[in-house]
Amino acid sequence: MTDTARWSEESEALAESVMAKYPQKRSALMPLLYIAMREDGYLSEAGMRRVADLVDLEPAQVSSVASFYTMYKLEPVGKYLVSVCTSISCWLLGGDEVLEAVEASAGVPSGETDESGVISPEHVECIGACGGAPAVQVNYELIEGLTPKKATELVEWLNAAQPATLNGDEMQALFGGERSFDWAINETNDATGPYPAFQPHGTIAALDRS
């Protein structure tokens, strides 16, 4: 085992609690990759080395797993990852036009990051919001029923306000339209990105219990 740089105390504690939730520690690999992303803003080589150390694998094995999944970003991405669905149901209702609007207002094509490092547009396959098509996620927080005009406003808002945390319900109210299903209760969550805001990455609650 190589000696890798440790993470912040918080992340190390989180990692330990995550590993305790599985019968075999390799199973913690995916949540650990999210913790690594939280440390560096993307999945760095150092981050993967730390994960490898924690679960007793070679770094190459970890990167082989990480590269399989679309949500582990192996390159730095902007502060806001704007994912536009272009699968069938969104496409039928103008998803491509929404993507074009996002790319145009960000000034870069899907898969790239604007010069100031704020917006990274990407097109994604179905995000399970087909009844509220076209759908977009910002750091995986969902907005449904967009139009190209609203999508442009969304990107302009992100650029101007640069909120420290994101709330899906707030963005839905500002820029969204019809949803896939009624959502009567607003959430108070604080998404930061570009990893999903699942407090705490699938596992933090275990800390409270132990």
Partner: protein
């Protein structure tokens, strides 16, 4: 269909503001099924679920009770709940997780009990952070209330429940890929045989994999009895099921239906008909993998598993994608095929290469460079992925993803040959064929 009470969405309709909380769940009869189940014991629970004839809602439609009966005797055994929901058109599990997570948690506990499981997992796709937060909150509440953890309600039964977030990959919805993913590996499917989850699943131990919606039915079945469930709707596919309707309809959304109505009723009455009074052109009856239906042949056929199967398609994930007369069907097929090409895990050559070629050919046709040979080549590539291009598909691949990509192409060639011919015709007007990848 209105004669039967709602099963899955009753609470969220009655208590829209609080259906996700344990207070509302308990106040509306929640966790009484767990108490009953703890008294019934394993065999009696399995019998009840068999009597219900509850079919899996993840895609394959296999009866849950029968699946549980196949669990190999070795222990430990595991239960994994499949919340990877990524089939285009499908958004029902998200609603069940976000709006009634305790129903799912209670169903998971009872199912674990029935299968002698002491550690269960709920695998939620990474793009569903809201679902994950809601389910995790429900799990935490259930632990605090003594419904999870050691010695549940003083019964001597122990259960740990771990919520796991995926990393973005449709293929992880396939049950063996999901198990690999949960083991911290690439989400590549395993060969069946020998890796049937019920025998060699998670950590090579006997494992039950069930869909979110499937297990959300369990509390109702325990409370009301398997016979009450199987009395609802058609004998072969009873109960209520979630139907996600999207595309060119006036009222897209999730509907908790009882099978037996016609497609006309589903599309025009339930989903409010086609937008702008447009004409219906085609629909996908069961998620992106399902062969298409068209009005002339199928509008007055029944929405039942038996009828859908015999008409050459499948219930699948229950997702219905509706397309009106303005839809370019070559483009629609390309959009569906592109999904499978993007999501192929790459293990099998027919799937990895075939889906990519199908997509490239369709894109070239759309770009105005169709060739007279294209229909034959599309068929030929499809035939290499799934010999004979039959339904149900024959397999040359490890999992059904490859053959799924054939469905939209075969449907296009069968129902819309004139649109294929038009795309070819446009191509002959262009002197040289160039650039196939956009």
């Amino acid at each position: 269909m209105t004669d039967h009470p709602l099963i899955l969405t009753a609470r969220m309709h009655a208590h829209p503001e609080s259906s996700h909380t344990i207070a509302t769940y308990e106040a509306t009869g929640g966790y009484t099924a767990l108490r009953t189940a703890l008294d019934m014991g394993r065999d009696a629970i399995v019998e009840e679920v068999k009597a219900a004839n509850l079919r899996g809602r993840g895609g394959a439609g296999f009866p849950a009770g029968v699946k549980w009966g196949f669990l190999a005797p070795a222990r430990p055994a595991y239960l994994v709940v499949n919340g990877d929901e990524s089939e285009p058109g499908t958004f029902k599990d998200r609603q069940l997780m976000e709006r009634d997570p305790h129903q799912l948690v209670e169903g998971t506990i009872i199912s674990s009990l029935a299968n002698e499981v002491n550690h269960a997992f709920i695998y939620i796709r990474g793009e569903y952070p809201k679902s994950a937060r809601r389910v995790q909150a429900a799990v935490d509440e259930a632990y605090a209330a003594g419904y999870l953890g050691a010695n549940i309600l003083d019964s001597g039964y122990d259960l740990e429940l771990t919520v796991h977030l995926g990393g973005g990959a449709y293929i992880c919805g396939e049950e063996t890929a999901l198990l690999n993913s949960l083991e911290g590996r690439r989400g590549e499917p395993r060969l069946k045989p020998p890796f049937f989850p019920a025998v060699r699943g998670l950590y090579m131990a006997p494992t039950i994999v069930n869909n979110i919606e499937t297990l959300s039915n369990i509390p109702w079945i325990i409370n009301n009895g398997g016979n009450a469930y199987s009395a609802i709707g058609p004998e072969d596919s009873p109960g209520r099921r979630m139907c996600s309707i999207s595309g060119h309809v006036n009222r897209p959304g999730n509907y908790e239906i009882v099978e037996g109505i016609t497609w006309r009723e589903l599309i025009y009455d339930v989903a409010g008909g086609i937008r702008n009074g447009n004409e219906l052109k085609a629909w996908v009856p069961g998620g992106a993998s399902a062969p298409w239906f068209v009005p002339a042949e199928h509008l007055d056929t029944e929405v039942t598993k038996a009828a859908i199967d015999s008409n050459g398609s499948m219930t699948g994930s229950g997702a219905v994608i509706v397309m009106d007369h303005t839809t370019d069907m070559v483009a629609a097929a390309e959009r569906l095929v592109r999904f499978f090409a993007h999501e192929s895990c790459g293990l099998c050559t027919p799937c990895r290469e075939g889906t990519t070629w199908l997509d490239m050919i369709l894109r070239r046709m759309l770009a105005g460079h169709g060739r007279a040979s294209d229909p034959d080549v599309l068929y030929d590539v499809s035939d290499n992925i799934s010999p004979g291009v039959t339904w149900p598909p024959k397999m040359t691949t490890i999992c059904p993803l490859g053959p799924s990509a054939v469905s939209p192409v075969a449907s296009l060639l069968k129902h819309f040959p004139e649109e294929v011919a038009a795309a070819v015709e446009r191509g002959t007007q262009v002197p040289v064929s160039i650039g196939i990848r956009s």
